[in-house]
Assembly symmetry: C2
Homo-oligomer: 590 residues x 2
């Protein structure tokens, strides 16, 4: 057999090593690459384009693109108006805040964002979490102004946190929300949100403030005397209509406009029905008067001290992470479909700045929404200009059309929310997870049940904790497998998987399948001792093989060894030598 | 080339898979192995021996073993008496509690423990942490009874926590205190402890209660008027004597009795000097009257409710983990030297039960001490009976010799503590860490500086946090390396390390060196995109190679792929196909 020499890698100073490591950790995408070898002027232009992506696509913008963006912008606006009002109610905020939040943030995002498909505005999950967390300390019914102030302050902290993650290149933190976690979490949140809508769908006036499945259901069935048949009739008719159009939209993506337009059509229809029949006097509750005009400033409403600061920061942190996860995932999904790049850290800065500005212009937390971005994409949006079109439409609405919503019944908002969140329950994905990886399914289930029976943020925390625990477990309990020789070759393979591989008498060949570090040296010591003892016990029993003389450890799959790992090898050699076994570590011909 | 077939591993049901995984995770040492195929009676005997290791070695105990154990037991008793008094003072507890804690726990350990070398009793680090944590809420000077109650309660929770870790087979939690963390933490704690001793060594009466390096030094230099030259003279003479004997003990292990006996000799000498010169009236503070008699019961002093419960549980948790780490590490070290096995989880139960019993018999937290176990080992101990001998000696002391300590000066206790903790500063090990792994050294430094400038528990938390962060980083940022073919073979190697490996035109061969899971799929996608872009940029620049046509990913070092990992491969294939690159994943001939 020919021998190939391993040369040590080129020498690097400690500083350079740390620099390299730092770069790989925080700048894996090497954002400065494009600046290399360019003139100063080009560098400035590239720099400005890097910070404001609008400068990249803006100069080449033409009528054809505009036409596409107008169509998609109007479509998402027709969705954004009813959803904005509905989601604000989900967060226990005045409905108009939902509309404000669909006006300023899209404009900011259009300038800073690098996704061409993201439709920005309030989203269900973040609204749900913000509402349920703030309600722990302040009641929106008895102290609406304070509640609003806390919501804006939380939004500010959410934005600050999101932008910092981007600036500090710590975007990988959101990677710890695994796919399984998200599937379970979303499904649980969707059920919680839907159950909450029973309040408006059944017309109950005295409803629990809690989010758990138990208090909500008890509220529903202990208040049967408050059920209003007019509300129920109207609610479930429109719910059926919305679900049907949603189904059509999914089955035939070309008919996206059916599902996209349905909420606005429902709102108009329901409003007309109420207006014509004066149903507000017959047990159907309506939104009521909404103030006309654009977003009022709200920077004087931000709380940076006082007794609720802790709650506000915590709420900001959690809604910030959750909405960031949704926004980034949506951006990446559609970027992959259209084959362009979305820079995660840059997106975080864009979303963060958008929320910081939003918090001082009466907006609550916003991000790129799954459902609206899909509609945007299907409607043929070409650039972030579709967000500008949407914002302009919202502006017109805020300035002139507010009186129209006076008679909009709350029940229709409930139906819109249920239709929107029902899509978050992804049973095929859950089944797929079960089939592929049982442990991932357990994570999924914990997130789901945690959200249902503990709390929205509790379920999330549990699922993230289990996911990280699983990763740490893989490290603390690395697999060790026994290898055997394939006769006639010098190749060694897993005895468990290769039928023709055979053991070599006197040799125990083990492969360790993880980096060796402080977290697993103790385990490896115990496990290897057990391997050798098992081997010797077998020798004693069968009397066929010769005793154990050599232990060979294959390190092909060991990518790193730390100082504890080095001590581990020293100690292992010592222990084995006392037993009369020779130990060698090497990379085998695999 | 011959083809060897991979057969799928034998089919296992989901339940069996989970069972196997569970066993590998929590029972890697397979404790029930020895019970297999034995008669019921033998099983009972083995079971009793498993729970009470004393039944294993007790029946074979003989006079020769006893002789060895008496020598070593008396030796460690001579060390345990002065150290017990000193460490109790370190925890701001009455000196006698240190003696109580060297009487009951060793007896319990002798019955339950599986190490033959562990010398059980109070230790410096755990004493330091307990004292400094409890002082945050209660002053031992103004409310000594409450302080004592909290100390016993913390001990109870420490024991409960330790025993639970053992019962639940979660012992691997202490593995997260890496070697580097411990080196830094110990050194920092040793300096903090030594600085605290300046109070008694300089004879200062009004000393700060804080532990940080800054308040302590300012206390020292703002109180120069309180320095007492008699105390300083006595203190530093004995300190020099103790350090000298310690040095002799290290250089010549056969003269272990010199260093082992020195503390007791110092105490006797110092006490005689004070008694003869009536120095207690000339600025030298003494211990004062100590109560005669064995441990009084203290179960009625345990607090399970009230305002300090949180602090007590936290203190129990931290002192529990730290003392467990020391005890297990000491046990394993000497077991490896004498080539016998110590079962980590069983040891945890033993140490835990010892502390639970201790907490109701006026003992504070105890474990196996580094320094005393080394003396025990050098003195030739054979079984845990040396702990019984030590306990009996302590009993005699408690019953009859207490009046002798009345004139023992506090300064000598300070000197004993400094001598004991100086050995915890392991500069060669720190240097070795720097040479081997810079990141581990950073962890070490953080633990060290955190202890010095933040707090003992703060430094520990920071270091553990960084260690875990490092492990997670290895997973979130797995190495990807480019492989090349070694001409004339079908072997592929790291291009960076094998000079004779060459690239194959049109092929990009990458090896991923970590399990692929939710935490790194995003990174891998970005990184692999960069690899392909780099490749294409190079092709453009040199015009020598042909364009990229195939991407081959070597998964030899990938031991696990979760559901996110599977989506990653699907998405990667989609992205690459759009670029006209073919992707294949395989295990290469390495």
């Amino acid at each position: 057999m020919e021998v190939h020499q391993v040369v040590p890698p080129p020498h690097m100073s400690t500083f350079n090593k740390l620099k390299n490591r730092f770069k790989e950790t925080f700048f894996p995408d090497d954002p400065l690459r494009q600046f290399k070898g360019k003139s100063t002027k080009t560098k400035w232009i590239l720099g400005a384009q890097y910070i404001f992506p609008i400068l990249q696509w803006g100069p080449n913008y033409d009528l054809k693109l505009l036409k596409s963006d107008i169509v998609s912008g109007l479509t998402i606006a027709s969705l954004a108006i009813p959803q904005g009002i509905s989601y604000a109610k989900l967060a226990s905020l005045p409905p108009i805040v939902g509309l404000y939040s669909s006006f300023v943030p899209p404009l900011i995002y259009a300038v800073l964002g690098s996704s061409r498909d993201l439709a920005v505005g309030p989203v269900s999950i973040a609204s749900l979490i913000m509402g349920s967390m703030l309600r722990q300390e302040v009641s929106p019914a008895t102290d609406p102004l304070l509640f609003l102030q806390l919501a804006f302050s939380s939004t500010f902290f959410a934005g600050l946190f999101q932008a910092s993650l981007g600036f500090l290149r710590l975007g990988f933190i959101i990677d710890f929300l695994s796919k399984a976690t998200l599937i379970g979490f979303m499904a649980g949140a969707a059920i919680i949100v839907s159950l909450q809508q029973l309040k408006s769908l059944l017309g109950i006036t005295n409803f629990t403030n809690q989010m758990g499945i138990v208090p909500v259901l008890s509220s529903v069935f202990h208040r049967t005397n408050e059920w209003s048949w007019q509300t129920i009739l109207m609610g479930f008719s429109f719910l059926a209509f919305l679900l049907l159009t949603r189904h059509i939209g999914i089955k035939k993506p070309k008919l996206f406009w059916v599902s996209a337009g349905a909420p606005l059509v429902s709102v108009i229809l329901a409003t007309l029905v109420v207006f014509a029949s004066k149903a507000q006097h017959h047990g159907i509750s309506v939104i009521g008067k909404l103030q006309e005009g654009l977003n009022p400033p709200s920077w004087n409403m931000l709380h940076f001290h006082g007794s609720h600061l802790g709650l506000v920061m915590k709420t900001g942190l959690i809604t910030g992470i959750v909405s960031l996860t949704e926004g980034i995932a949506v951006g990446r999904t559609f970027a992959a479909l259209k084959n362009y790049q979305v820079d995660g850290n840059k997106e975080m800065i864009a979303i963060g700045v958008m929320n910081i500005v939003g918090s001082s212009t009466s907006c609550y937390v916003t991000t790129g929404a799954f459902s609206r971005s899909a509609v945007n994409h299907n409607a043929g949006c070409k650039t972030a200009a579709s967000n500008i079109i949407m914002a302009v439409t919202l502006m017109v609405t805020l300035l002139f059309l507010m009186p129209l919503f006076q008679y909009t019944p709350n029940v229709i908002l409930g139906a819109i929310i249920v239709t929107a969140v029902v899509g978050l329950i992804d049973i095929p994905a859950a089944y797929q997870t079960w089939k592929v990886d049982k442990f991932d399914f357990i994570v999924l289930l914990c997130a789901f049940l945690g959200v249902l029976f503990i709390s929205v943020q509790g379920g999330l925390a549990i699922a993230v904790g289990i996911s990280i625990f699983k990763v740490l477990l893989q490290i603390t309990r690395p697999k060790t497998v026994m290898l055997g020789n394939i006769p006639g070759t010098d190749i060694y393979r897993n005895l468990h998987q290769y039928k023709d591989a055979v053991r070599i008498p006197g040799f125990l060949i083990l492969s360790i399948e993880a980096p060796i570090n402080f977290a697993n040296t103790t385990y490896l010591k115990e496990r290897i001792t057990r391997w050798t003892e098992d081997y010797e016990a077998e020798v004693e029993k069968t009397k066929k093989q010769s005793g154990l003389r050599f232990l060979v450890i294959d390190l092909s799959a060991v990518s790193a060894i730390d100082t504890s790992g080095i001590s581990f090898f020293k100690e292992l050699r010592m222990v084995l030598e006392k037993k009369g076994i020779e130990a060698s570590q090497q990379q085998l011909q695999r």
